[in-house]
Amino acid sequence: MEKYNQDDTFLARWISGELSTEELNEFKKSKDYALLTKINDASQKLESPKFDEQVQFQRLKSKVFNPPKQDKKVIKLVPNWAYAVAASVIITFALFYALTAESHFKTGFGEQLAVVLPDNSKAQLNSNSTIDFKSFNWKNNRELDLNGEAFFDVEKGKSFKVITEDGVVEVLGTEFNVIARDHYFEVRCQEGKVKVTSIAANEEIILLPGKAVRIINNKAERWEYNVNEPNWLLGESTFYNTPLSQVIIALENQFQINFDASKIDLSERFTGSFTHKNLKLALKTVMIPMDIFYSADSNNKIILENLND
């Protein structure tokens, strides 16, 4: 073995001329010396690719010096804290909305709508009615606002309140019907037990199944009805000794019609029912027993007149 094969820096030192004379002389005798010298000589004739310093510096200049002040501070158009503020405002509003948002349901003329409340209680809206309630924390705060007529099937739980302009109906799991419209307030209890607080009559009334109450002229009027008789949920509105004014409103809401009732006495009472399916039949069943003549005028208004006059 030649020395340069064992010493792993020997050749490097030979290239750089660091070998001692003895080492060099010995190396010159070896068989690889000629080839290695040839490699060394030839490799020094090689050159690397052209590198145009001028061009490269120009290229660099355009990148480095053109933006003249590289330490110019970048001021953000929108500072960071603004995002934080915006986010917290949004969160605040979102929370506020979530906590106070009211679900709103409304029916138009002739429409009915079944609303499932957050605790699976059901509210069925008759035509032209609205309910509003807050979904948030519904289980502990079962309150809703009603304007119009609705039938409630309430799941068991804490007190369930229907708040109307004229009074509050409060129950603990039951089925009942409420009408609260234009200062007319009527509650029918279908099942369970219902407590009605009338604002106008300043009275608390407890209703058992089949019992109903209405507030007229600031007085509570109680009556009984048959819980099995068809009600508006089945396509028929039933009335018991109800002021004609309410019956006419019910007709108007159901069929989207207008009455001119200026010539009749609206305080008369009506007992009976009308179907939702047929306007003519409904008019007949209400007006004929009441001795009222009805005719349509040019504006599609239905004029009501007493037959006796």
């Binding site: 792993d8 490699i39 490799s43 090689l46 690397s48 590198f51 660099l60």
Partner: protein, 170 residues
């Protein structure tokens, strides 16, 4: 005597640094990757970094800064090509005593050598070429590569052994 430390942020100083080191830096990268454009880009990138950090880098450290940046940039680059070296157009003497056969043989040898160099492992190749083409001392190479002189010498010797073995095999 210039005792005052030159600021790299001075345009003139910066230009001096470029003139002094850009070509070596370019070769250094080229010997690694064999891609002219990539090597040029790395040089640009390294000098841009130098400019952006000019207030943190003192003049004396600019060179090692450049090589460190270039090495690091190169770590991120992946593409490697075979390096292509040119035969120096030495101003050949008008007449030569050498026979045409000898010249032909010589030319063939150069072609073989270039191929064998291109096939060298990167670590051996860069040391060998920095030494033979750029005429860098081992100490300079060790600084560029951030390794010891001893390691440079070993790589150089290995390169020669590899070349010797390979050139016979072609």
């Amino acid at each position: 005597m210039n005792i005052e430390t030159k600021s790299v942020c001075e345009e003139n100083t910066y230009k001096l640094i470029f003139e002094a080191h850009s070509k070596s830096l370019f070769n250094f990268i080229y010997y690694k990757c064999g891609d002219i454009e990539q090597a040029e880009d790395v040089v640009q990138e390294a000098f841009i970094k130098l400019w952006n950090n000019c207030s943190n880098v003192i003049y004396e450290k600019a060179k090692s800064f450049l090589y460190t940046v270039a090495r690091n940039l190169f770590l991120n680059e992946v593409a490697h090509k075979k390096i292509v070296l040119q035969h120096k157009l030495a101003s050949a003497p008008d007449r030569t005593d050498e026979t045409p056969e000898f010249l032909l043989e010589e030319q063939e040898f150069m072609i073989r050598l270039k191929k064998v160099i291109a096939d060298l492992p990167e670590k051996q190749r860069e040391v060998f070429l920095l030494s033979r083409i750029d005429k860098k001392k081992y100490s300079e190479i060790s600084e560029m590569l951030n390794i010891s002189v001893k390691a440079v010498e070993k790589r150089m010797s290995q390169a020669l052994v590899t070349l010797r073995d390979q050139i016979g095999n072609i």
